[in-house]
Symmetry: C2
Subunit: 319 residues, 2 copies
């Protein structure tokens, strides 16, 4: 068996979640001081326009279009001084992210400002472009939350196509931030039941995997065990990584794992979750088949890594 | 085969690297506003003293001791206002991290200020305590680089035992930062050779795995493919996660993976690395057996995740 084979191998799990599949050529080693300026001058340059966490989408036929031409984006009052060069689509076509300042109330009917989560759940932007949009939203959010230097409070200015910010007072260099979150499906030792919980802010009836931020000084596996124990009282032994997902709310990396539960008695932390329970395979199958928004118990939408963790476990357990 | 079995399973790889195995009870859901104050009053409270990236170690017999009593630490001029409650050792024994301002030149002979990297390479602090020290160093570094608010430049103050910082001007809440880095061993399709490179800042003769920061909007697997391609010109197909490692320089999560090389011709990016080459199994074995500091080619030290990636590949390939 090759080191790269996995049980029940059906392709790379990380390539099958929403926001994955961003194929831009980032050229991360070649972000010179003038790379953004040069990119803006190329005829294929297109801009993602993001205002306070909402993406400005143009109506196009029955659907939406997330990319705007350099001239078109001007109507949204973009902050081009703090724009970020994301990378290049085929044909030397730069993709750029910019914060826009126009009040969404003043948008023409042909443009809608929609939050990332709704765009992904409703499938308004698809595939590769959804991944680019995640990159854009994460970087715009990061740039805006690093307008000042954390060390001295000085004003920062962008460099390296917006991928770095340097303090104009003390010179400290700031890099984009990505927050690792562990999200895990605990499975009992008989491989018959999985553990799902619900947070008070979930839509009605939705149950999902437990999750939490990885903390400084932790391995991924230790974070899985700590978060599961803290939230549910369940002890986890072995941990297996399954898939990862970029999550642009605001700039997170979801790290999806399976955890082998070595205890069964649930004791929830009511500060974190409002319920947690074991689902057998049939119950988990039923959960996946139901859409959010019904009265019944339901699961996260198909693009969510939690959905994939449950679905892929059911496939593996049945094989 | 269970979902939790891995080929050549010899226990959890992440538990075998340096800085792992931190068993403090973090009680992350119970960090109230006065938890640090309460912890400092407990008789078992001990402090990690960290000044500008160097840890103050007390000589103790033939070795060193990293923890100081509350009274003892005063001689180092600790900034207790910005201290962080890491968690609890058995027996309700709080572990605390504090930045200390005493010039290391003025330390008594019984105390040495030593950087994290030297502590780990020389094995001056061991096992569980080394992991706690990594957590301490990461959080002190984070707190100091977030003394001001990135949004408005205002002064921040700690809350939740130092695990949050809140802006006294705009109220923005700041959370600890952990930077995910992918570090990968590319292996050829015959499973006979692995790809190692050297950065100009490595010790003489040292070759190691390629590595780089995961960027916003990337999966772990995409980051492995991008970084390998950018640095070495080698294309990677399948990726398999192997292990993770907390890396307190300053607050990084190393994510160790194997990558299946689908091309063989190396073309290095000279901005990043000064050499990169294929090593067959015998050459990789020889590399691991040599200590850094000799004239021969050598590998990262045994605690490094890169060392484990090479060693575990050799074991798997031989099995």
């Amino acid at each position: 068996m090759s080191i790269f084979d996995a049980p029940g191998d059906g392709g790379e799990p990380s390539s099958q979640v929403a926001f994955a599949g961003n194929s831009l050529d980032r050229r991360s080693e070649h972000r010179d001081d003038d790379c953004l300026e040069q990119a803006l001058a190329l005829p294929g340059a297109r801009v993602f326009a993001i205002g306070d966490g909402r993406v400005f989408l143009r109506k196009s036929g029955d659907g939406f279009e997330a990319l705007h031409g350099i001239d078109d984006v001007q109507q949204f009052d973009p902050d081009m001084d703090n724009a970020v060069l994301l990378g290049f689509a085929p044909g030397e076509a730069p993709r750029i992210a910019a914060h826009v300042r126009l009040d969404p109330e003043q948008l023409p009917d042909s443009v809608k400002a929609i939050d990332n989560r709704s765009i992904y759940i409703q499938g308004l932007v698809r595939g590769d472009e959804l991944g680019q949009m995640a990159q854009a939203a994460s970087l715009v959010s990061w740039a805006r939350s690093h307008a000042h230097c954390g060390v001295c409070g000085g004003v920062t200015r962008p460099t390296a196509g917006g991928y770095r910010r340097v303090c104009t007072n003390c010179g400290k260099l700031h890099f984009p931030r990505t927050d690792p979150v562990v999200i895990m499906l605990a499975v009992d030792t008989q491989n018959e039941r999985c553990l799902l919980g619900r947070s008070p802010h979930f839509p009605p009836g939705m149950y999902s995997c437990l999750a939490g931020f990885l903390e400084p000084g932790e391995t991924i596996e230790d974070a899985v065990r700590r978060e599961t124990l803290e939230e549910s009282g369940i002890r986890i032994g072995r941990v297996r990584y399954h898939a990862s997902q970029p999550w642009p709310m605001p700039h997170t990396l979801m790290i999806g794992c399976y955890g082998e539960a070595v205890s069964t008695d649930i004791k929830i932390d009511e500060r974190e979750i409002e319920d947690c329970r074991w689902f057998n395979r049939a119950e988990a199958e039923a959960l996946l088949s139901r859409q959010t928004g019904t009265d019944d118990l339901n699961s996260p939408p198909p693009g969510a890594i939690a959905h994939h963790l449950i679905r892929d476990w059911l496939k593996l357990a049945a094989s």
